[in-house]
């Protein structure tokens, strides 16, 4: 297929490497080095999509990150990408792109009916309507939603993976144009570690689009030579296709490197993108500048583009945007583009120059080149809806606010527009650097850096190439020096031209035939369809702050984040309010500079690696046994062990019964363990637990309750005295980390005088809890410890061997049954477990999971912190006030004396028996004393735990009920959805073996 608009004699695309792609289903051809935009233009295509609100036909405005119009859907299926800027998407073989927001296509778009009603849709119209009839909003909203949005989100899982990494450097250089390259060079020469990143596949920045020389040779030669030298420095990292997107605290900077989007075949082993999280000692910002369009009537017609973009298409891509161009400009610099275009064989039909006098170095050269210039002219009208056909020029009145005199129509097939330049200060602003408004160039430029950063080149308002090079060399040297490297001196600057783009005239809206807002539209923010009239309306209605203007009109809120519209909007607002631009201020620049993939932020912290999974040494055994697992903190714990098709309920009933009838085994490795040592260990325990520890002798263990300073139960567990001044504290599985942190904080900050050390030993041990009447018999077969009740009473521990390995066995019980908790070195855990399983076969040993553990402990009325408690429960509420020593202070004690803690009507811990023994209450069910036909009803408590017990032969529950400690025997009701009510009786929470005979057996 012919690329009618391809130039053979210029451009950096590789004419030897043709590339086929499709656009809206039709095949086209481009070359390696093309973007989608340049390839489309080479094929004569300008119309690429429709606008957001009015569905106006739209073309290609820019040639880079600033593009607001040409957003396309790339590919379909799992790798589809919405809203891709055609100007940044590198072309690859077989690429399929389609227009967004246009159905069936950009040429004949049904949504274009919106244009008929455009008059009803000024800024903020939706706040004023869709209010009638009262309940109709959901229907309106549905319609509005469908109209909104641009591309389509993928609907399949992403087949790619993403990489994410930290990096450190001495000097980070953002932007690889002349300024950035120069900065990297001097920084690198000092020996500093340099990271140089540019969003483009090639370095050189605007030099790629220019025809300038450096030291008399094509500028690109200098780029090559610089890159060659940089590559020779071992400490330099050069990152093409990498956007520097976020500048955060303390010189923390995020980059996104694109690895495969430009490839036709995506390698399996290469990440699609890589996020770099960089801590830079020093930063050089060399991000260049972005041209702004002129705001004239119907300036959004396909074929109207930025002058710099037109120049870029011609010089960099070897593509003519058309054959006959009209330049519309307010500054001298744009003539440079006109000259380059003319040189490429494009006819410059005319230059409409809004300046009263068209002067300046490039203007003069243009005049010499025979370009017809219409000074002091505005744009009366634009012909051609789907592609500009002609432009009507008309002289400006003296005040520049109206047109006057005779108009003339100039035929053309594209328009190059220039409204001046905005330094790309996004990153500088993100770093909270202060901006200053430069009235001469009508641009915000960096003023004061707040972080260790400096700007160089166009992004700080240096416009000439030589100036940019000089800036860069100096900034690189300065940055390296500030990072502690030897002074390399910037050296002499290579020779190059040093022209800016002035003189210019700041005419924020170019008047047309009719007043703004009457006929035709003056677009400011193309992507969000915001016009000059919308801005004026906002101000008229009192939305005068620039932040209100932004939010009321949505200017600057589209995916380009106002890159081309920002200053034009400020100019218009400033004019309308009669205030200078600095008093209007800017809206806030926010990360990211250009949109950044969620997947890259997630990086590898997804799937199995989303959260760490902690495993006990016996984990593989549980997996083999078919256990279902439960998350407890980061641990995976066996929840229950179904046999065959057994349901959870059946498995738990079986496990619970088997344990009480014979013996069960539980993996209790996950309990937190803290080794506590030091002469003040007892004093410390006394302060952190509610109960007293002075009498605990070596070999003995005791249950302790730990509160937060607010008096609420925080954790519980058994602590054993291993030796004098040496204790082993157990915490809950989920609470271990918090408890250690809590204890260390008190030790280090409140009580540094206490001589106590803490070390976590949670994972030093593997633990199995053997529970049930046959626990002793079984264990005795594999241990040399005398397990007889006399030799080894309840709440003590013994050391010896179990299964041939050293072990510490605790006689404690969370099941309420005869129970031993066997601790061995973690390396021996699996062996110990397997031995107990095989020796236990004759006792029908049953492994049980956390659910059965919960049933068994609940039968005994033992609480679980986090289930019976929720951060609002005190020991008094739990009926555990006896555990709160009156003889000493402890953390949380004072809080228990606050007036509301003593209220007898607080929710207190009780047992519940449903009247119907088959009925299992739902955990979380709310309880009432007085039933009503319908809500609202006064609630007196809730069910915290509820089970069917095969051992009690009935259902039972634990609950917290207002004043419950004194309500044993009373009735409460759980009203369920659908009208069912479950009546229950409040009881003592100990249901099983209330005398504790089994556990002491």
């Amino acid at each position: 297929m012919a690329q009618t608009y391809r130039l053979q004699d210029r451009g950096r695309v590789d004419l030897e490497r043709p590339i086929d792609f499709t656009f809206n289903g039709k095949r086209y051809r481009g070359y390696a080095g093309d973007t989608v935009a340049s390839a489309l233009l080479a094929n004569g295509i300008h119309l690429v999509g429709r606008s957001f609100k009015y569905h106006r036909p739209r073309g290609i405005l820019g040639a880079g990150a600033e593009e607001p119009n040409a957003l396309l859907q790339v590919e379909s299926g799992p790798r589809t990408l919405p809203n891709v800027r055609a100007t940044q998407a590198e072309l690859y073989d077989g690429m399929a792109v389609t227009s967004v927001n246009a159905w069936p296509g950009p040429d004949t778009d049904v949504g274009a009916v919106n244009q008929l009603f455009a008059k009803l849709f000024p800024a903020g119209f939706y706040y004023k309507t869709f209010m009638w009839p009262g309940k109709a909003w959901p229907y309106y909203e549905k319609v509005i939603r469908h109209a909104a949005g641009l591309g389509k989100a993928p609907t399949d899982p992403d087949p790619d993976f993403y990489d994410k990494r930290y990096a450190h450097c001495d000097v980070l250089v953002a932007g690889g144009g002349p300024a950035g390259l120069a900065a990297a060079l001097t920084a690198a020469r000092s020996g500093a570690r340099v990271v140089l990143a540019d969003e483009n596949p090639e370095f050189g920045g605007s030099l790629l689009s220019a025809r300038e020389t450096i030291d008399g040779k094509p500028a690109i030669d200098w780029v090559q030579a610089t890159l060659d030298e940089l590559r020779g420095h071992p400490e330099v990292r050069i990152l093409p296709r990498t956007i520097v997107f976020g500048y955060y605290d303390h010189n923390w900077i995020d980059l996104l490197e694109s690895r495969t989007d430009h490839l036709s075949r995506k390698p399996d082993d290469r990440p699609r993108q890589r996020m770099w999280k960089v801590r830079a000692q020093e930063v050089v910002l060399a991000t260049g500048a972005i041209e702004r369009p002129l705001v004239f009537v119907d300036n959004d017609r396909p074929g109207i583009m930025l002058a710099s973009a037109a120049r870029s298409y011609v010089n960099r891509y070897g593509v003519k945007p058309g054959n006959r161009c009209v330049l519309v400009t307010n500054n001298d610099g744009a003539y440079q583009a006109a000259l380059d275009m003319q040189d490429a064989g494009i006819e410059i039909a005319a230059a409409i120059d809004v300046r009263a006098e068209a002067t300046g170095p490039f203007t003069e050269r243009a005049k010499q080149a025979g370009i017809r210039i219409l000074p002091n002219h505005g744009v009366a009208a634009v012909d051609g809806a789907k592609r500009v056909r002609a432009i009507k020029a008309q002289p400006l009145a003296a005040d520049g606010e109206r047109l006057t005199g005779a108009s003339r129509k100039i035929a053309c097939d594209f328009v190059a527009s220039s409204g001046g330049w905005n330094p790309t200060v996004h990153l500088f602003s993100q770093s909270r650097g202060k901006l200053r408004f430069d009235a001469e160039t009508a641009a915000f430029v960096p003023d004061r850096s707040v972080q260790r950063a400096r700007s160089a080149g166009c992004c700080q308002g240096t416009w000439g190439l030589m100036g940019c090079l000089k800036d860069g060399l100096a900034a690189g040297a300065e940055a390296a020096k500030a990072a502690g490297f030897p002074d390399t001196k910037a050296g002499s600057t290579p020779k190059a031209s040093d022209d800016g783009f002035l003189p210019a005239r700041w005419l924020w809206t170019v008047p047309g035939e009719q007043p703004v807002g009457h006929k035709g539209k003056h677009f400011v923010d193309y992507q969000n369809d915001v016009t000059a009239a919308d801005l004026l309306l906002a101000i008229r209605e009192g939305y005068t702050s620039i932040e209100h203007v932004k939010r009321y009109t949505t200017t600057g809120m589209a995916t380009d984040q106002g890159k081309t519209s920002n200053v034009n909007a400020l100019g218009i607002v400033s004019q309308a309010r009669g205030l200078p631009i600095p008093e209007i201020g800017t809206t806030t620049f926010r990360p990211p500079y250009t949109p950044v993939t969620f997947g890259a932020w997630g990086g590898r912290d997804v799937g199995d690696l989303f959260d760490a999974e902690r495993h006990s040494p016996m984990h593989a055994w549980h997996v083999r046994a078919g256990a279902a697992f439960e998350n407890v903190g980061l641990w995976k714990r066996p929840w229950y062990y179904p046999i065959g098709n057994e349901s959870m309920h059946d498995a738990v009933q079986r496990e619970s019964k088997a344990t009480r009838d014979s013996v069960g085994i539980l993996d209790a490795t996950t309990l937190g363990r803290i080794d506590v040592q030091g002469p003040d260990a007892v004093e410390f325990l006394n302060r952190v637990y509610t109960n007293g520890w002075k009498t605990l002798k070596p070999g003995m263990a005791r249950y302790g309750l730990m509160l937060g300073e607010d008096g609420m139960v925080m954790d519980d567990g058994v602590t054993a005295c291993l030796r004098e001044n040496h204790y082993l504290m157990h915490t809950t599985s989920g609470g271990a980390g918090d408890v250690l942190a809590h204890l260390e904080e008190y030790l280090q900050t409140e009580w540094p005088e206490l001589r106590v050390y803490l070390t976590t030993v949670t994972e030093q041990y593997a633990t199995a809890a053997l529970a049930g009447p046959n626990a002793r018999k079984l264990l005795q077969e594999v241990t040399d410890i005398d397990l007889s009740p006399e030799a080894f009473p309840f709440m003590t521990f013994r050391e010896g061997t179990v299964a041939g390995v050293p072990a510490r066995v605790f006689r404690i019980s969370f099941s309420g049954d005869l129970s031993f908790e066997i601790n061995v070195h973690a390396d021996h855990g699996l062996h110990m477990w397997q031995t107990l399983m095989s020796v236990g076969e004759k006792y029908d040993i049953t492994p049980y999971g956390t659910e059965t553990m919960h049933v068994l402990r609940a039968e005994k009325g033992f609480i679980i912190v986090g289930q019976e408690t929720d951060g609002t429960v005190t020991p008094i509420d739990l009926g555990m006030d006896k555990l709160c020593s009156s003889k000493k202070d402890f953390i949380g004690k004072r809080s228990l004396a606050r007036p509301d803690m003593l209220d007898p009507q607080r929710k207190q811990f009780v047992g519940l028996l449903p009247d119907d023994p088959e009925e299992v209450l739902e955990e979380g069910a709310q309880l009432v004393e007085v039933l009503k036909d319908a809500p609202p009803m006064d609630m007196v408590g809730h069910v915290s735990s509820s089970y069917m017990s095969p051992n009690l032969g009935r259902s039972f529950a634990l609950a917290l009920v207002e004043g419950g400690l004194h309500k044993h025997g009373q009735k409460v009701f759980a009203p369920m959805p659908g009208g069912k009510t479950i009546a229950c009786t409040i009881t003592n929470p100990v249901f099983f073996d209330p005398e504790g005979e089994r556990l002491r057996a």
Binding site: F161, D163, K164, R165, Y166, A167, H168, R193, D269, R270, P271, R274, K277, R279, G603, R604, D605, D608, L609, D611, A612, E613, R614, H615, S616, P617, H619, A620, L634, W635, Q677, G678, P679, R755, Y757, L758, T759, T760, V761, T762, E763, Q764, Y765, A766, E781, V782, A803, G804, V805, P806, H825, A826, D827, H828, G829, L830, H831, T835, S838, V839
Partner: protein, 217 residues
């Protein structure tokens, strides 16, 4: 006692790497791989906590027990033969005995405890509580910089240094840089072994390098 249990305790041990079913390459070297990971089964690990200002005799006692002078400069380690001691904090050290014997940790603990009798100190055997992973190869730094926020560059992390840091999103590790190959030992909490290992594998993939599992010793 059943016969099967009469074997020595040592053979009844399982390292935290066992469940990972690693295909360990036993021949020498990386053979072109960018990074090698070494499951360092069975080390003797002992934590010591003591305030050297408060307890002036402790330092000598430790040297008597181990032959090593406790490193007091932050982020440093001292090694001799098969014993290393890593600075973990101003009053906290980790001893590493490069000896697979089951009692290596317990023995050192006993020895240290004995010599520190009467001193306010804490000596705890943590051989079961941590896992050690050797990391080596030309891409080791690149890979690790995906897992930890430390600057791994030789200018800021030199052989003989040890740093404790965040690994991935959830756990702490100690990194002991032993030489500038580089070779490092990474210590993580035992229950996180699988997470740390898989994470490193994924980091190698992200770094577009190849990973080999190398045999210890």
């Amino acid at each position: 006692m059943p016969d099967s249990m009469m074997t020595t305790a040592a053979s009844l041990r399982h390292s935290p790497f066992d469940p990972l079913h690693l295909a360990v390459r036993t021949q020498d070297g990386l053979q072109g791989a960018g990074i090698g990971l070494i499951p360092r089964d069975f080390r003797g690990l002992v934590t010591l906590r003591v305030d050297l200002d408060r307890e002036p005799t402790a330092r000598q006692a430790v040297t008597d027990a181990t032959g090593l002078d406790l490193p007091t400069a932050p982020n440093t380690a001292a090694s001799q033969d098969r014993l290393s001691v890593l600075w973990l904090g101003p009053d906290e050290w980790l001893f590493v005995v490069d000896d697979p014997a089951p009692d290596a940790g317990a023995d050192l603990q006993t020895k240290l405890t004995g010599l520190l009798e009467g001193v306010f100190a804490q000596v705890v055997d943590v051989s079961g509580a941590q896992a050690a992973i050797g990391v080596t190869g030309p891409d080791a730094r690149e890979v690790l910089e995906r897992a930890v926020p430390l600057d791994m560059h030789p200018r800021s992390f030199q052989p003989g240094q040890v740093k404790h840091t965040l690994f991935g999103r959830h756990t702490g590790v100690s990194l002991h840089l032993k030489d500038d190959q580089p070779t490092l030992d990474l210590y993580c909490r035992r229950s996180f072994t699988g997470y740390v290992w898989r994470y490193l594998e994924d980091c190698a993939k992200g770094a577009e390098t190849t990973l080999a599992v190398l045999a210890d010793r």
